[in-house]
Symmetry: C2
Subunit: 452 residues, 2 copies
């Protein structure tokens, strides 16, 4: 069968999944955990194949770590399934209950979205997490994982699919696609797929967004900012900035641009530049920033001439010409130990820069001034707006959601880290006893609204 | 200035609108109502121009009624603004308040979406309603109304815009575009426009959906179903069916397809066909339906031969060949006094037909059987699923929302009739006191989640 046929079939069974009792869905999770444990040797063996192939292909050690699925990762997965089972059922919640007139009762009830396509990176634990989130929320899922872990994915998928069917969910409620060409076919299935969640490189996510009519949830860019206000506490600011930039540079919530209030720039920038240089961060920025650093470096050269040799100068002495930025460079996501730097005159200017050049992901103000913080948090139009902490906190686990399917920079439906809540929608149920609109149009009857 | 420049400017002022106090927004509404009242002669004069132009163009009387803006419509608009002012502010609501760790507090707060483009039919009262909904919810709005009421729209828009600015909202928070070519330019502004709400013909809405990267909220089709279950109360069923089909045939929530359980078809169909024929409804349907009607007509001819003449035969005697439908015809939205008819064997088959051929708008079961009703309401994947009442109830006013911007058949963000709630999104605000992720990654610190 082709992907389109499979997905059309999935669409037709999706109401059965949606209306399955939450006990059935939890039983599917319980059986999945059991199967993963029982078949762990099979899983580890498949993973060894993947790792050997990756090693031959010369894949970098840091990436290899993500491909690996060992006893430690399995135990994390099992703990994750346990906590997912304990979470409240996200469907069937009544969010509105209203009498429209006597005997005419309206309810708004949360329901699964339906059919969700998720394209994710080569990490076997992601397959477990995502498929279990979909089962818990009553959704059907089309899964496409990274090809580097194809063997592991195949074993994991089969175990979880069998557990779902054994628990009573209909055949076809989960689907794995593996060829890259199948993604293109999936993108055309806008009649059957309700939502796509692509994870991966910016270019890839952008490609998905540009080539489908299916709604897409995710983020292509993560240009996050840390703004050091004139009322910042410098002792807090530098560790936060180092964490935001360097704790995991490849993450979408790592800070890419440092904005500094002109009123604190002379005092703050040299200190920050020193700390950043020690952490291996290369600065790029405006001419003005370069001049401040050059000035402070020459001052410090004088002050410290006796102690410090030119070779180990702790202060960067301005930028090389290629590191001087123009305005239009400020939308760069480095995902590396590089940081853009710019000065601003006010909270308002910082917010305007962020709204224009940022990606509406996560942006932070460092300040002890409550009013400046409030203003910043009101003006910045991002999924996460922070004060006095690292932008790296933007994450479903750190928000206490238990698990996340991704982070959305879109403004509709779900924004920021997306957990179970983002995988449901609602429908309106109206129960009457023969009511017709003509009676209300002619005013023979009147509505009597009453929330129940 | 071009539309793109105007809209880019709007995007840059939108955070100021979003962060304006709700008192400022209500003041804008109050001033708008005042201005509409004070300048009513000017408005009526502009409307007379529109009506004269429409009359010359030979526009149908039913449409002319919608173009008209008189004292009665003005008073409806003013009452609408009054009730909007009284509604709770939809922004600034805290929907999550959680301690992540000591001194690290997360809030999820509702905020305006930002910049919304709304393209609506030639109805001056729609301009007032839509712009006021946007002001109330803190959104900037680009408005494009039907060209038939261009003169009225211009006066109304100017009055409301001036009121908004006088109340303290920034210049550029509202924008009116009038040329059709400007819509195409608007569709390209995906950097500045957060949401498009097109209202109008199916073909037009479909065109918008197919030609922009901006998220679109609305519905292109309204293929609604009424399913008469075998346990239906026929005395309730017929008036409901007549209302659902005929009370306003041009509405998206009018029933287009009648599904009937085979177990009740012989008893129900002839009665329904008679009532529908009397209401001027023409039936189309499957061969089987045609045969039942032909059979019952010939039976009734015998029974009633003495009383009824052939010319006034109250029962349709089957369909003409061109009214026999094949499976694929069942996705037709007639918006006219025509009804598709098909028989099914079960609630499940009815739901499967609706999910396949419907438009996920509003569908109803007529039954006295609670279990059948529950099953239907769980299986049908539509914005509204009803029991024992007319599909015509799908409407923001009838749901008690006070006002609506439209009805969404999409499943993400907002579904069904969309009121103020659909015009907001949320952001996460995180306030810390120096927290960095490295401390939690190294387990030097642990999260202590606590909902506040």
């Amino acid at each position: 069968m082709s992907v389109s046929e499979d997905v059309r079939n999935m669409k037709s069974v999706s109401p059965l999944v949606a209306s399955a009792d939450s006990a059935v869905r939890n039983e599917a999770l319980r059986l999945a955990a059991l199967a993963l444990k029982e078949h762990q040797d099979e899983i580890f063996e498949a993973n060894r194949e993947d790792l050997q192939r990756a090693e031959k292909a010369g894949i970098a050690p840091a990436v290899m770590k993500r491909l690996k699925f060992d006893a430690h990762k399995l135990s994390d997965c099992l703990a994750g399934i346990d906590s997912l089972m304990a979470l409240e059922n996200p469907t069937g919640r009544i969010t509105l209950h209203r009498q429209l007139d006597e005997g005419l009762i309206l309810k708004r009830v949360t329901v699964p979205i339906g059919v969700i396509g998720i394209i994710f990176e080569a990490r076997p634990d992601a397959l477990v997490q995502i498929s279990c989130l979909c089962i818990k929320s009553g959704n059907c899922a089309v899964l496409k994982g990274g090809k580097e872990t194809a063997s592991t994915n195949k074993v994991l998928f089969t175990l979880i699919e069998q557990a779902a069917i054994q628990a009573g969910l209909p055949k076809g409620c989960l689907l794995q696609v593996s060829a890259h060409s199948e993604i293109d076919e999936l993108l055309t299935c806008d009649d059957s797929v309700d939502l796509l969640i692509p994870r991966g490189s910016n270019a890839f996510v952008r490609y998905i967004m540009d080539h489908t009519k299916i709604p897409v949830m995710g983020h292509s860019d993560g240009v996050c900012h840390t703004y050091v206000d004139k009322a910042a506490d410098m002792d807090l600011a530098i560790p936060i900035l180092i964490d935001a930039k360097t704790q995991y540079t490849a993450a979408c919530n790592a800070t890419e641009t440092l904005l500094v209030h002109r009123g604190i720039a002379d005092a703050f920038l040299p200190k920050a530049a020193k700390a950043l240089a020690q952490a291996g961060v290369k600065l790029r920025g405006t001419q003005e920033v370069s001049e401040i650093l050059a000035r402070s470096a020459s001052l410090s050269d004088c002050d410290l001439a006796a102690e410090s040799s030119a070779a180990s100068a702790p202060y960067p002495s301005g930028f090389a010409a290629e590191d001087i930025m123009t305005e239009e460079d400020f939308n760069t996501e480095y995902l590396d130990l590089v940081l853009s730097v710019k000065l601003v005159d006010s909270v308002e200017e910082a917010a305007a820069h962020i709204n224009r050049f940022g990606s509406h992901h996560t942006d932070c103000i460092l300040t002890q001034d409550d009013e400046a913080a409030m203003r910043f948090m009101a003006l910045v139009d991002s999924a996460g707006v922070y004060r006095n902490c690292s932008t790296r906190f933007a994450d479903g686990f750190r928000y206490g959601f238990g698990a996340e399917v991704g982070i959305s920079t879109g403004k509709l439906h779900a924004r920021g880290p997306v957990g179970l809540d983002g995988l449901v929608t609602y429908k309106y149920l109206l129960e009457g006893s023969g009511q017709i609109v003509a009676d209300y149009a002619s005013q023979a009857k009147q509505f009597h609204f009453k929330d129940l």
